[in-house]
Amino acid sequence: MKKNIPTVPFILLIAAFVFAASCNKKISADLALEQKTQQQEGRASIHPSIVTLDPEETAQFKIIQMATYLQPARLAENVTWSVNGIPGGNSQIGTISSDGLFTAPEEIPEPHIIHIVGHTDEVQNSTQVATVKMGANRACFESVFSYSEPRDESEYFFNPHGITLDADGNIAIIDEVTHYAVRFSSKGEFLGYIGDGPGQEDGETYRPRVILNSPDNELFITDQKVFGNRIQVFSNNGGFLRSFGPRGHAPGGSLRIHGLDLDSNGNAFVIDSDNSRVTGFTPEGKYLKSWGQDGYRREDFNAPHGLVIDSNDDVFIGNYFSGIQKFDAEGNYLLTFGRGNPPDGSVYIHAISIDQWGNIYSMVRGRRGYGYVDVDNIEMFNNNGDFVCGARLSEKDFSANWAYIDEKGYIYVVFAGGGRSGFEILAPK
């Protein structure tokens, strides 16, 4: 005989379950708020962020500790100021007092873009950089070397996609069509391969898109093998060391990595264009975390194509269609800049790069897209998203794919267009 199950205890059980679920949601929400509040606390900004000065003019800079949750903004104390990395500056590039008063030099220096750095340990983003442009309407860069080969005849170059400098100052380039990772001298002399050439095995490269030289002088290359890991690490002499980051949709997996950078702890972060998310790995290559998604909110991605990390561990994401976003190290959205500006401005962002001052270089294309370069090839923004200046390659048909910026501010660019492919070096002026 079938026994009736007592109904009241059962209902109570369901009620308890629902209550527990609700509590859990409330606790989760509280934790999220607490976490968000903590994460957002202690950020700072520099004012003014960008200024144009004539010789001997002055500008007062200050670091503002932004308002924290229910606490007002205030001036940061104990700020150390430097000009282009020189504490207090000097007569060639201008001087800055301990109170942040910058006095421009008597003559316009070369390069004429000067970086004012305020450092304070009181905040999450401890290094703040402002831009001083000396003199109005001056070009910022000029081409000093260009090397290219006919696309149809070149063994290595068809669509060179990524570029970096290795430990010896040589130029390392990967090409997403020929699959090669190669090295050239700065004079255009071919120096050899990195890894074992095109292929699907570890140590070989297939549709490589990013190359990065780490502080330990290991070369990271991301590629798109049919199977296998997406990130390979090579020694400076080109020998395969290890790989990590499996192919796939699941957390930790990647499909098409189009940007890679390392944070201050050596963790590797990649942007995956196809999964539309950021994925982080420990220095050992273990999955750390991921964040970001497709969507229509300001913090969502729209075909993300670039990722760089500045010295504060803030993360910049370049979206092919909708500008550059800045996030903090935890993925909290901060701001967007460099949005499309048709009909005369840039519309597409193919990749982004960063220099030691946190300036962001955006490899852009006009509204007619690839192969129709009717805007600057590269747009330079400062760390706060202010437009600094544009730069063009030596030939109007060349379209910049990627750039590496060295410590002196030289831009090393890989390009394709006009039936040729190669690299070019732009010097700051």
């Binding site: 079938k2 007002p72 903004a73 913090e299 949005r339 499309g340 048709p342 519309v347």
Partner: protein
């Protein structure tokens, strides 16, 4: 044994239902009641949004639609944009003309004001009125108090601790004071008191915090009642019509309200100081959704203090600890402006109002002192700043002073002539200043 099987079945069903509950309910809570939460944004911008133009010179404007998903930003077709100068289609000789491609020809002499509004109207956009600011010859507008009315502190008759001000279609002022709503003529003469009561019940005012006159003549009041709905609608004559929005923390409820606005879709936006959120109702009082999240991060509300809605239905939010934020009608964050600027600039933002051009007025204060006084906000020249005017894109337009020192804006609104109406308080007077360019 059968009993255990039955228990197992029930537990399986129970956990299945639980799983469905946990997977669906959070999803439902993330979308809005009208189901448009996931509607893609279809917004545009006008470029440049702020520009200085010499008299007699030209300036090209473009409308740029933001990049849709997996598509680039684009310019709408010429025939999809209608251009206006100061609200006149194509403009005229006095304010300048603009052609169908957005090329603006500035007048050879500045009209009464050097501030010109260029509008690109794009019907298909979520924000159809895209308005840029032209400063002719770079001269920033100056503001002055056109007239004021009020009562001295030592002889207060009506204005005992006013909380809010609104302007009716006919220019009369409604002011929330004590436990009633006062009506003043457009010249500032006291006319009548409405809703006065000591009862905490529907239709009676107990402690009105907000008043909003709508274009039909009726007005909404949000109150501090304990046990009955807190938002009430009254006829123009002050006759109680209906109420909604209970006290509480749950969706659709409110606690300490501040900021009340109606948009062109008949949605009513009500802000809450304590809950740091904005609740949206339809005009009849049906709860639709809410948005806003406490915090100091981008898009979070850091001491929510007031709101205002522009003609695109975008929502501007003042945070006491800054900055001012712009959200779309669904509460999706757009951008921030009016950032704190210590030591002598903005520290606190106490109120926000918008005019018909989408310009945003932000009431500002400096550092709060131990005696609850506030330091004065100063501009670069050391002049006092009580209110800052920005355009719809957050570009700085001008600083504004009240007519006398030591007056603080309590609440602001904009009248139907686009004049700024400031309910103020000082040590010796409470009143209203009407400020114009």
């Amino acid at each position: 044994m059968n009993m255990y099987k039955e228990i197992n079945k029930r537990f399986i069903a129970f956990f299945a239902l639980g799983a469905i509950y946990l997977s669906i309910v959070p999803g439902l809570s993330a979308q809005y009641a009208d189901g448009q939460a996931f509607k893609p944004m279809n917004r545009g911008n006008i470029a440049p949004s702020f520009v200085q133009v010499e008299t007699g010179a030209q300036q090209q404007f473009h409308i740029v639609m933001e990049a849709p998903r997996l598509l680039p930003a684009y310019n709408p077709r010429t025939e999809d944009v209608v251009w206006f100068v100061n609200g006149i289609e194509g403009g005229n000789a006095e304010v300048g003309t603009i052609d169908s491609d957005g090329l603006y020809y500035a007048p050879h002499r500045a009209p009464g004001t050097n501030l010109i509004h260029i509008t690109g109207f794009v019907e298909m956009a979520d924000n159809p009125h895209m308005i840029a600011t032209v400063l002719l010859d770079g001269i920033r507008p100056r503001f002055r108090t056109v007239y004021e009315f009020g009562e001295p502190k030592n002889a207060l008759q009506h204005l005992h601790g006013p909380k809010a001000v609104s302007v009716e279609q006919n220019g009369k002022f409604l002011i929330a004071v004590g436990n009633h709503i006062l009506r003043f003529s457009d010249k500032g003469d006291f006319m009548e008191s409405m809703g006065e009561s000591a009862f905490d019940r529907e239709g009676h005012l107990f402690g009105p915090l907000n008043v909003l006159a709508d274009e039909s003549g009726k007005f909404f009041v949000s109150d501090q009642k304990e046990s009955v709905p807190r938002i009430m609608a009254f006829s123009n004559e002050g006759e109680y019509l209906y109420s909604f929005g209970m006290k509480g923390y749950f969706p659709g409820m409110s606690f300490t309200t501040r900021g009340l606005a109606v948009n062109s879709d008949d949605r009513l936006y009500l802000g809450d100081l304590e809950l740091s959120r904005i609740t949206v109702y339809d005009r009849s009082g049906e709860y639709l959704f809410h948005f806003g999240e406490e915090g100091a991060g981008t898009g979070a509300l850091n001491g929510y203090h007031d709101l205002s809605v522009d003609k695109n239905n975008d929502v501007f939010v003042a945070n006491y600890f800054g900055p001012c934020q712009k959200f779309d009608a669904y509460g999706r964050y757009l951008f921030s402006f009016a950032f704190p600027d210590p030591p002598s600039g903005i520290i606190h933002i106490t109120d926000v109002a918008t005019d018909s051009w989408g310009n945003v007025y932000v009431a500002v204060r400096g550092q709060r002192n131990h005696d609850d006084s506030y330091n004065v906000v100063n501009d670069a020249d050391g002049s006092r700043v009580d209110i800052i005017k920005y355009n719809n894109h957050g570009d700085f337009i001008a600083n504004i002073q009240l007519s006398k020192e030591f007056r603080y804006p309590i609440r602001m609104t904009v009248d139907h002539d686009d004049r700024l109406v400031v309910l103020f308080q000082s040590d010796d007077m409470t009143g209203v200043e009407i400020i114009a360019n």
